[in-house]
Amino acid sequence: MSDPSAIEIHGVAKRFGRKQVLDDLNMIVPAGKTFAFLGRNGAGKTTAIRMLLGLLKPDRGTVRVLGMDPQEEPLKVRQRVGYLAEDQAMFGWMRVSEMISFMAPFYPTWDAAWAKDLANRFELPMRTRTRHLSKGQGVRLGLLLALAHRPKLVILDDPTLGLDPIMRKEFLRDVVTYLQGEQVTVFFSSHLLYEIDAVADSVAILDRGRIVRQAETEDLRNRVKRLIAPAEAQSVLRDLPGLLDFALADRQVTAVVEDIDAALPVARSSGASIEVIDLNLDEIFEAYVIGRRKEQPDAPAHLERVA
């Protein structure tokens, strides 16, 4: 009987020196879905991922991956999980074929025929040394190595780092093609949002060491909206339920709310005409992470773009 959730994290905290990187992290990743883990650079995504693989020990809290504790059984967890790290360093001198045969004995479920098939589909030259591969090919090799043992869970830590937009799209296409629809859980960490948008079933936003929002992508897009109203409505808009961001500009006031169904009636009660704007995932993320909940008249109208 398989676990309904692939990953469960409860109350995890981790401190490095003086910095509290993770603080009461709670997350449940359902099996068979594509889950995007969003956060700014340095927000703690990689730290959390390392804990999933048993590479780091949390100060507090519990972690369960595929029903196992990665601290107790790290090797078993890693044998069942496909892992592609950000900017993965490979053994430069090894040829592609050697990398594949090097990795194989570590995994009891390695499927050599499937590895060969993937190598052909990814058009990877077998005799080339990994240091001579292009960035895109390197990532594809990493993906091959993560998939070849037919894992039930694949963890991708910012795998498209350093890839150009075309390669990124190809990578996401590969994820959709080879992983979705196979009941494989994909856990994807990134800070490139509008691409994740198309691929992820659910997203979780990590900010200041905790998950500030976890929801299905579609749901999030349907609920988090921007309201624009004439300035007279500002007193009402300032106190909307689930307010994420609030800004006043001359004759208009704008607010981003978590749940449009709860907030719109309240906003309309002000009597002013309210315009509802759809937001893309980038903007939703911004609202959660750098949204100003209290109006600051001197704050710049647009904060720096999340990289």
């Binding site: 594509t34 190809e170 959709v176 629809g181 509008y194 948008d197 759809d278 937001l279």
Partner: protein, 139 residues
Amino acid sequence: MFLRLEPSSGIPITRQLVDQIRSHCASGTLSGGDRLPSVRQLAQQLAVNQNTILRVYERLAAEGLIERKHGDGTFVVERLPPGRLKAQRELLRQEVERLARRAADLGTDAAEVHKLLDEAIARLSREQRALSKGDQRDE
């Protein structure tokens, strides 16, 4: 069938795709009986989550625009439902409302708006005529 996704648009992907396929049905690019790509194929083509494509197809099926024939695939229905005109009109109505609000913001009066609209329609029909003439010449 050509589908285009605007990745950074605020409009959810499901809605973008449903709208586009609906437009294709209305304009004739997709006619009754045409075969649509499978969920897997379309997902791969667009690099979009399979569940999203599934939802798109389900929504279109609920509107009566497409049907899934077990084993065969997904097809546009032979006779497009009359209700679709109503759905199209609803979409158009929303666009027009947005336009009206925009005009109000810009301080444009009603007469000016009508004039602009007439000009746009005229220009469009001219272009369509030129295109169909071009097609005739090619044949």
